[in-house]
């Protein structure tokens, strides 16, 4: 009889022993996690931008310019003290911009500085970076050559190694902190508009803005797709089916992107767009902007002088 299976209840008993095993997240989980964190970060930012803090009150163009200069300065520092100093400075800025320090630290260090820290650890050994030993660890009979690697007789932790690892990590962390300060306190559309000041052509900034918008739309679609997949996956998957599905999703996203493109163009044409993009900017400089410019330039100048002395 047709539909018999639909009219009878499945005789599956509920699982007897509930072992709480940590199922390793498959690719669906992983992607979903990334997507969710993407949206969460974005949501947090909206809230922080609207707080009345120091950096939020500064004109976006000034912010982009000064924080950019800071990052360049950071890339020039040769001593660990200057890097630590500017890093502490970023913490102050975060505090005065009403960003919770805990949130700020997590946001900065996860994930690039942490990752950089991990890959910098081997550098403290003289296997990779030659230098004066501080602590001697192992001594072999003689040098060993493994292809391009020369392992010295004595493996030790070197002064140069420690210094380079610290310089590296602090430089990365400080640069990321400065960028995070910018992104947490400025609307993305303002960041893009501020680029116009640097003579980035309008063509470019307009498309950048559209791109940002599309990213959100695409992410939402992909999130839906992954939720759909997750809700329909029972048990383990056949090998290879996940791959096929992931690729088919890329195809789907591609298709809907193209579709979207046509429609957006129509919408733009309908309101008068022909070939040239026009934008109005509403930025005004206030006293706090001037104060901030003077302050940052002063600090950058002093640190650079100290750096090169």
């Amino acid at each position: 009889m047709k539909f018999q299976w639909l009219t009878t209840t499945d005789s599956l008993p509920p699982p007897a022993n509930l072992k709480v095993t940590h199922r390793k997240g498959g690719y669906v989980e992983k992607t979903l996690k990334e997507i969710t964190s993407f949206f969460l970060n974005w949501l947090f930012s909206e809230e922080i931008i609207s707080r009345r803090g120091l950096l939020q009150s500064i004109d976006p163009r000034v912010k982009v310019l000064t924080l950019g200069l800071f990052i360049v300065a950071v890339s020039l520092y040769k001593t660990i003290f200057l890097l630590l100093g500017v890093y502490l400075f970023t913490l102050f800025l975060a505090y005065f911009s009403r960003i919770s320090l805990r949130f700020f630290l997590v946001r900065v260090w996860l994930f690039i500085p942490l990752f950089s820290g991990i890959i910098a650890v081997p550098a403290i050994f003289n296997v990779f970076v030659p230098g004066e030993p501080i602590v001697n660890l192992f001594t072999f009979k003689s040098e060993v050559i493994l292809g391009p690697l020369k392992i010295p007789e004595t493996i030790s932790i070197t002064r140069q190694g420690l210094l380079t690892a610290s310089l590296f990590v602090m430089r990365v962390a400080t640069s990321v902190s400065l960028m995070v300060l910018l992104t947490l306190t400025t609307r993305w559309c303002h960041i893009l508009k501020a680029l116009r000041v640097f003579r980035v052509p309008q063509f470019f900034t307009f498309i950048l803005a559209m791109t940002y918008r599309y990213i959100h739309l695409l992410m939402r679609q992909i999130e839906d797709i992954h939720f759909a997949r997750k809700s329909r996956t029972i048990g383990k998957e056949k090998r290879g089916s996940g791959r096929k599905w992931a690729v088919s999703q890329i195809k789907f996203v591609l298709k809907s992107s193209l579709n979207m493109g046509e429609h957006v163009y129509s919408a733009m044409v309908s309101r008068g767009f022909t070939h040239e993009l026009k934008v109005i900017e509403n930025f005004n400089l206030r006293r706090i902007d001037y104060a901030w410019i003077i302050f940052s330039v002063f600090i950058i100048a002093v640190t650079l002088v100290l750096n090169w002395l």
Binding site: M268, S270, R271
Partner: protein, 298 residues
């Protein structure tokens, strides 16, 4: 609201349309990609100041028709005349005509997400006026006043995709109105809107009509059809015009409406019995218990 609107009318009315016949559509046929038919030998006229609704089930060609009327796509067969200009690709490539046409006709798209592509609501509303070469100060004034009209000032700094359905629709309408078109085309405007937003929207359209705008709405939602229009054009599922006439009369022609899949045999329950009879919830709503079939509840 009325005061603001009449102010709007006085300031932005522009030249009186000398031509009474806005659109003349003759034997229009259109297919997507040359393969999928969307419209078949459609002919009708639209006059200045009219309120017309284009009714049809999903897939009957309403959206395509509006895109054709807005000069976004062009037909393979037949012609559309806008104020005695025949709309074709070359004509719209002419910068002067394009500027003129885009100022006169505005389209509110079905999917607001696609229509709203700017980074903030403010930018979105300003897009039209900016690209129609209005002076910066004029653009700012228009954005300000249109936002006041629709209650959008608080949303100026927000990205459009972050808004609720009703807010998005308002922004879409604001950005279309900011160029002050004489003709407003609306594609399924109440789709996905909550009841309050729907009511607001419909009321607003009525106000726009009062100040002289020509309003063409495409929808399958019969609930709003009578309020937003005086005249109706019905498309059937074969992409042809099934009927034309006063909206009131069309809506009472139940067999016509069933034939084009705008209403359905409705199943509802009362008096402990399940009834099935052709039914639409609009216009006069009386449960006449004549001529319906009784079905026993299982």
């Amino acid at each position: 609201m009325d005061y603001i609107l009449s102010f709007y009318y006085c300031c932005y009315s522009g030249a009186e349309l000398a031509v009474d016949r806005i659109f003349e559509v003759k034997d229009l046929s259109y297919s997507f990609l040359g393969r999928f038919p969307a419209l078949c030998d459609v002919s009708f006229e639209i006059h200045r100041g009219e309120r017309v609704v284009i009714l049809g089930a999903n897939g009957s060609g309403k959206s395509s028709l509006l895109h054709l009327l807005d000069g976004l796509v062009f037909s393979q067969k037949g012609a559309i005349r806008f104020m005695d200009y025949e709309l074709n690709e070359n004509l719209l490539k002419d910068e002067d005509f394009n500027m003129f046409f885009r100022k006169k006709v505005g389209l509110v798209f079905q999917n607001s997400d696609i229509q709203l592509f700017s980074s903030t609501v403010w930018d979105e509303i300003a897009f039209g006026p900016l690209h129609l070469n209005l002076h910066n100060d004029e653009v700012k004034t228009r954005v300000k006043e249109i936002s006041e009209l629709l209650g959008l000032e608080k949303l100026w700094d927000r990205p459009p995709y972050q808004l609720s359905g009703g807010e998005k629709k308002k922004v879409a309408i604001a950005s279309t109105l900011a160029v002050n078109p004489d003709v407003l085309l609306l594609d399924e405007p109440t789709n996905g809107l909550d009841p309050r937003s729907q009511a607001e929207l419909v009321g607003f359209l009525e106000e726009l009509h009062k100040i002289g705008k020509t309003i063409i709405t495409a929808t399958h939602d019969l609930n709003i059809a009578e309020i937003v229009s005086d005249r109706a054009i019905v498309l059937n599922e074969s992409h042809k015009i099934e009927a034309e006439g006063m909206t009131k009369d069309i809506l009472e022609d139940t067999s016509l409406l069933i034939g084009v899949n705008l209403i359905h045999e409705h199943i509802h329950c009362h008096d402990g019995k399940v009834h099935m009879h052709p039914h639409g919830h609009f216009g006069k709503h009386e449960h006449e218990h004549q001529g319906h079939r009784d079905r026993q509840k299982d």
